[in-house]
């Protein structure tokens, strides 16, 4: 259908002149190449600037390995929690009417509009040495700030809305007729969810999980505030990249960056596939 439309537009006098078309394409692509392609290429060039050997030895350093493990651990905790939350919130919001629904939706989106640094700061204010619960945790010898729990909490906050935000508009649009039909025929609530709702929302759910995961693994500002940058202990991969860069260890910094850039590329490819799936499923 789009081909038919485009030939019609091509033939009409409505179309932009050729010189306009080509100059706009040049400007747009020039801009995209300068700001998006060049940075991506440069990560690879810098990572391999001292050869494959240096690249792989940078990746196998114990501190780098510890940073990767911590990043994976953080994502493994935060993504499932926020996914369960996203599904529950979407179910409550789209399947029932209640007062304060709009407020609830606004509150769920809140973390998106808070600066990452402030997202970290609030956990320092809560659990830091001078914080609200700080002294209690110090007495019981539990470390939250400058330790892994703080990193997990800050990441939970930052990635909080991703899944819910994908599911709410979709489930709103779908309506609940199919589920009501299943329920009135005697299916249980769980059965209805797994056999009717889940198949309908699976691509959007995966899409939300994908974005949530990318942010959980890549978050820098919030994690930077609560981590304390202890090498091999509380450095996530983005923080290890920062520390290496500031110590002029370019190969390590860009080797770590190349892993994160690879993650971003995989995310973009899966995202494109999921968008395509969602469109064809409608």
């Amino acid at each position: 259908m789009s081909a038919a439309i485009s030939t019609r537009v091509h033939q009409s006098t409505l179309d932009d002149a050729n010189w306009v078309r080509w100059s706009l394409i040049t400007v747009a692509l020039g801009f995209v190449i300068l700001f998006l392609c060049v940075p991506l290429l440069l990560v690879i060039i810098q990572a391999f600037s001292k050869g494959f050997g240096a690249y792989f030895s940078a990746l196998s350093q114990p501190d780098m390995q510890a940073a990767m493990r911590l990043t994976l651990l953080t994502a493994l905790i935060t993504v499932p929690l926020n996914t369960v939350f996203g599904v529950a919130a979407a179910w409550a919001i789209t399947r029932f009417e209640f007062r304060g629904k709009d407020l609830l939706i606004t509150l769920i989106d809140l973390p998106f509009s808070v600066s990452p640094v402030i997202s970290g700061l609030i956990f320092v204010l809560m659990f830091g040495a001078q914080g609200w619960f700080g002294s209690w945790f110090v007495e019981h010898d539990i470390k939250i700030i400058f330790a892994v729990p703080g990193i997990v909490l800050a990441t939970l906050f930052i990635t909080f809305p991703f899944v819910a935000r994908q599911l709410i508009p979709l489930m709103q649009e779908m309506g609940s007729e199919e589920e009501e039909a299943a329920l009135s025929l005697g299916a249980s609530g769980w059965k209805t969810f797994f056999l009717i709702t889940l198949p309908n929302i699976k691509w959007a759910l995966l899409y939300g999980v994908l974005l949530c995961n990318a942010r959980a693994m890549g978050e820098f500002g919030a994690v930077s505030v609560v981590s304390g940058h202890i090498r091999g202990m509380t450095n996530t991969l983005p923080l290890h990249v920062e520390v290496s860069y500031n110590e002029y260890d370019t190969v390590s910094a860009f080797a770590g960056a190349s892993i994160l850039a690879g993650l971003a590329i995989v995310t973009l490819i899966l995202k494109t596939l999921l968008e395509w799936k969602q469109q064809t499923n409608r």
């Binding site: 009409s12 409505l14 932009d16 002149a17 706009l24 394409i25 747009a28 692509l29 801009f31 995209v32 998006l36 392609c37 940075p39 440069l42 939350f85 529950a88 919130a89 179910w91 399947r95 029932f96 209640f98 609830l104 606004t106 509150l107 600066s115 990452p116 640094v117 402030i118 700061l121 609030i122 956990f123 320092v124 204010l125 809560m126 909490l153 906050f157 909080f160 609940s176 009501e180 329920l183 009135s184 209805t192 974005l211 990318a214 693994m217 890549g218 820098f220 500002g221 505030v225 983005p238 990249v241 920062e242 960056a257 994160l260 850039a261 971003a264 973009l268 490819i269 995202k271 494109t272």
Partner: protein, 275 residues
């Protein structure tokens, strides 16, 4: 949507939603508000009106504004080209637009710093040929924020441009309007609310951005020090009241921006007849 009596799971899902929301978001955020009550109003005003703090706010807002304007201009052209024209590699470029959403900000930060620092390949070129320094200057912050802003603008404008009713263009042109008149009188006014929303989203994100900025900014107090960095500096000096007061001010401004964006989006939907 009618309330259905047979639909199960309201109580458990709403309870969990509210409980988890409070635990992860509301209680932590409220600490910022309560902690700032420990300050007297005079203390608060003193912290906020300190020269270095005012300078940081000026740097953050002016660079975010500049970046959002530049990104809106180019982002509009990119969206236009992606929707209206066909060319080789269009799908690739289309997917690439979201890179700033997917690429961790620290990676963006070190890469842009490497490109634009005075010894970097673009930084050197600009320095030698145009005597222009971008890295370690406020201009560097603008560059980093343009990178962050691109998808906000493109992804807001694109769908509106896609659904734009070309019959309006046809009608205008059959009544004798030139192509330029069609663009300025028909197309642009209809796209403008979406462009403004994209601009506001980019601006709001830019004001709070940290990771991609600090490597390229040079972080010189009064010149290229952004507000998020100043908050971290205060924290590292154990100046909790300072950090809290600045953060609260940022938070209030962010919420005002959020309100504005919601009003804008409401307006966009109303104009495009979705309400």
């Amino acid at each position: 949507m009618s309330q259905s009596r047979i639909m199960p799971g309201f109580r458990p899902t709403i309870s969990f939603t509210v409980f988890y929301l409070s635990l992860v978001v509301l209680i932590p955020l409220s600490t910022l508000v309560f902690k700032s009550f420990e300050l007297s109003f005079d203390d608060y005003v003193n912290i906020i009106t300190h020269k270095r703090v005012v300078a940081a706010f000026r740097v953050s807002f002016s660079t975010a504004l500049g970046a959002a304007i530049i990104a809106s201009f180019f982002g509009f052209i990119v969206a236009w080209v992606l929707v209206r024209y066909s060319f080789v590699g269009k799908r690739f470029f289309h997917a690439l637009i979201d890179l700033p959403f997917a690429l961790p900000t620290a990676v963006a930060g070190i890469v842009l710093a490497t490109i634009f620092q005075p010894s970097g390949f673009l930084g050197k070129f600009l320095k030698e040929n145009f005597d222009l320094q971008i890295g370690f200057k406020p201009a560097g912050i603008v560059v980093a924020l343009i990178f962050i802003s691109i998808p906000f603008v493109v992804r807001t404008v694109e769908p509106v441009l896609q659904e734009f009713d070309s019959r309006m263009e046809e009608a205008a042109s059959s009544l004798g309007a030139t192509r330029w008149q069609v663009f300025t009188k028909i197309i642009f006014p209809n796209i403008f609310p979406a462009l403004l929303t994209g601009f506001a989203l980019a601006f709001a994100r830019g004001v709070g951005e940290y990771g991609s900025v600090i490597f390229i900014a040079g972080n010189l107090p009064y010149v290229s020090e952004i507000v998020p960095l100043l908050i971290i500096t205060k924290l590292e000096q154990y100046d909790m009241p300072g950090a809290t007061a600045i953060a609260l001010t940022m938070l209030i401004i962010s919420f005002l921006l959020l309100l504005l964006i919601n009003l804008l989006q409401h307006w966009v939907r109303k104009r495009s007849g979705q309400l």
